[in-house]
Symmetry: C2
Subunit: 454 residues, 2 copies
């Protein structure tokens, strides 16, 4: 089929995620047909190549069409693609689980599998609530979540979401939560100074707990970066202090590492920067290096033990499962991924790249519309503002992000700014030279849309 026909069919038959479908009437918004991928590059049907600066929704880590991962997938498919995971098991999942728990220093010990980030969060929320019931506290049925948070799109995950555009409409279907402040340092809700900040925004968490701790099951956070909220970043000490608060009020700390996990912040999990251990960790995305959906919810032995029982009436069992729970194809890729990361000595491997990004971000500093430049490991974000002094944001209708995206495409990079935020979240294998190239493209795109001369 030719390109025109393909695009027509795409628009005719497919309802796209997070997309106002009418916008596709505009030629500029027509979907781009990707033919192949190699390393950090995606190639479209016309042979145009683009740096995948968003790691195809923050999942890719070792590059597209990675030979070793392809090989692992092929090997596994010749053995078995999938087997029911109740009553049966297989070697890749055992080896992966063991390696993962070891990498987590045996602090959390039990790995529950599901299919994606949303389900990993659903599992965590259901487990946390059931844990409280089993501990004799059925009244602990509310969760605390943060403004600007995003934890997925299923109803449980939406319930703990804090982005009005995504979540507000579904309110009548959501369970009750308490919302605390977002640790949005650039626009600190407490008007604190970054340099003297003592995480005063955490008072909003403690205020809720002072009143209602007896009804709260746990708090859920995205560690260090509220990603979909606009790559909002905050320091590790926030998480350290939050752990203390959770202990003080006896609630669970649920750490949603779906976007941050598997070395995105430079460490296996972001919570390590805070030198604490959460009660439950959710991970997905990079777990398969960007190949296919798979997720884990890893819990403490303490939580697991509360469910461990003779269970005459069945109410102590965690009744949750998906058809493809821990399917061997994904686990074989996830296991090979861990092996590759180990061989690469990934934490050391990332350091010069993180430093290089840091250096290249300097060039944005003096642009009149650059309000904030922030970085956490392999995530960099540049928040654009109308006015640097007042921090006045651009309006939704200004479409600044969209314009920069289109300029980026022309120059061979998929930037996809979020709200008013240009960000880089690339595969780990990007070279220092490519970091220069990518940041140059972004800088040029920015200046095209918001020229310095204006």
């Amino acid at each position: 089929m030719n390109k025109k026909q393909l695009i027509e069919d795409d628009i005719k038959y497919i309802w796209r995620p997070f997309t106002q479908m009418k916008s596709l009437e505009n030629d500029l918004n027509k979907p781009i047909i990707i033919k192949r991928g190699k390393g950090i590059y995606l190639e479209d049907i016309d042979g145009n190549k683009y740096i995948d600066a968003v790691s195809s929704w923050w999942v890719n880590t070792l590059g597209h069409s990675n030979k070793r991962l392809n090989k692992a997938l092929e090997r596994q498919s010749k053995k078995i693609e999938h087997v029911i995971f109740a009553g049966f098991t297989h070697e890749p999942v055992i080896e992966f689980s063991k390696k993962l728990v070891k990498l987590m220093n045996n602090k959390l010990t039990k790995v529950f599998y599901s299919d994606n980030g949303s389900t990993a969060v659903e599992v965590a929320l259901k487990m946390a609530y059931q844990y409280q019931v089993l501990k004799g506290h059925p009244e602990k049925k509310k969760f605390i979540a943060l403004k600007n948070s995003y934890h997925g799109d299923t109803i449980g995950a939406v319930s703990v979401g804090g982005i009005d555009m995504y979540h507000k409409l579904y309110k009548p279907l959501l369970f009750e939560i308490r919302q605390a402040l977002s640790p949005y340092c650039y626009r600190c809700p407490m008007k604190c100074d970054k340099n003297t900040c003592k995480c005063e925004c955490l008072n909003s968490v403690e205020d809720i707990l002072k009143e209602e701790a007896s009804q709260i099951a746990g708090i859920i956070i995205e560690p260090l970066v509220q990603a979909a909220g606009g790559m909002i970043m905050y320091p590790p000490k926030y998480i350290t202090k939050l752990r203390e608060i959770c202990d003080k009020y006896n609630i669970l700390l649920i750490d949603d590492e779906v976007a941050m996990g598997f070395y995105r912040t430079g460490k296996l999990f972001a919570y390590e920067h805070a030198d604490i251990v959460p009660d439950i960790v959710c991970a997905a995305k990079g777990i398969t290096a960007g190949y296919m959906p798979l997720s884990v919810t890893v819990t403490s032995q303490e939580i697991f033990n509360a469910f461990y029982d003779d269970d005459i009436d069945g109410y102590k069992t965690f009744y949750h499962g998906h058809s493809y729970t821990a399917y061997p194809l994904a686990l074989s890729v996830a296991l090979e991924n861990l092996k590759i990361l180990e061989e690469m000595k990934i934490e050391e491997y990332l350091k010069p790249k993180i430093a290089k990004f840091s250096k290249e971000l300097e060039k944005f500093k003096n642009h009149k519309n650059v309000g904030d430049i922030r970085q956490t490991g392999m995530i960099c974000a540049i928040e654009l503002v109308k006015d640097k002094e007042t921090k006045e944001p651009f309006a939704y209708e200004d479409g600044i992000g969209k314009k920069i995206y289109l300029e980026g495409l022309k120059m061979g990079a998929i930037l996809r700014p979020m709200w008013n935020c240009i960000y880089f979240l690339t595969p780990y294998i990007i070279t220092e030279k490519e970091i220069e190239k990518l940041t140059d493209i972004a800088y040029k795109a920015l200046n095209k849309v918001l020229p310095m001369g204006d």
Copy 2:
């Protein structure tokens, strides 16, 4: 690693789905390590082979480690494994969507992708509610669901679930629904006779609507078979009449074909037997022939149109998406699956197998504990009872299903009865001879656990 160590590690690090973990202390419940699969057989680490009579959680259709599907997977991995599905697309998803809509006779026209059955249902529920809001009816925020229904394990899907053991505990987190009767013909809640039944149980749906139609967004059903509820089966006329009721009261009919879709009932979708068209269809499981998680929520043009707008404020967009939405690896397998099914002339192909199952079920008829024998296409179920006259069920503690499962394993078949129901839900490629073998094993297992002499 040796078998003993593998099993130890499995139990040490993994929290299994739908499993009371303490039960694994019993040697009989230790997970069986599956090494490979071929056709309808699974082979464990000791070389024992088992007929996969449950299609590894109702997903496998073309056999394990299918050569053509493996080839499709390999081909695709060498091109590209995954690309972000907002703004970008790829040929396998376009071709698959077009084929699917054509197979549905263009009655439903828009395919929305997500990752598994639960998410397909979540998408349907969110879409249905948002549709009502966009049509000016935000008060239509409740759903009707059926007793004994199962639609998945995420909070939205659990909300419309109707099996107490799985769903009741989470009540405080669930949204409000109205529950109608289960069309459980063998234990008809209206005490009707199968032969003269006019679907009187549907009165319970209409009763709700007479009172509350103005607050109801839609009804969700599992068509023809309430699978996880115990392979409860009911006739197509129920769905035909339900469609009329939905039209009369202006609510949406959401058809959860996750387990039934892709020819499990002998037709692409079960609703075809009722000669109606739902407003929304959810499908997953067999969509990839049992290879990997993928799901679709297919909607009418009417629903799609309600979201189609210039959308200045963003509230007409369907904000839902998963990182791996429509990932090429899965779509390439799903597409190859459709091609194979087409070449097989699947509907014709299944007819003699369905007839063979039907014939082989006869042998169970005279067993004193066989209460009901039922079949819908490639699903057969035998409900066991303590007393044929009174239909008194076995108690949970009797563990009849578990005992039959263990006998089945010894004889080389994975039966996994549900509640008190032995069922066969095999890959489509099972031969007539294998159907004989499988049903013989089940019959022997049944007689071992519940001897006729007793």
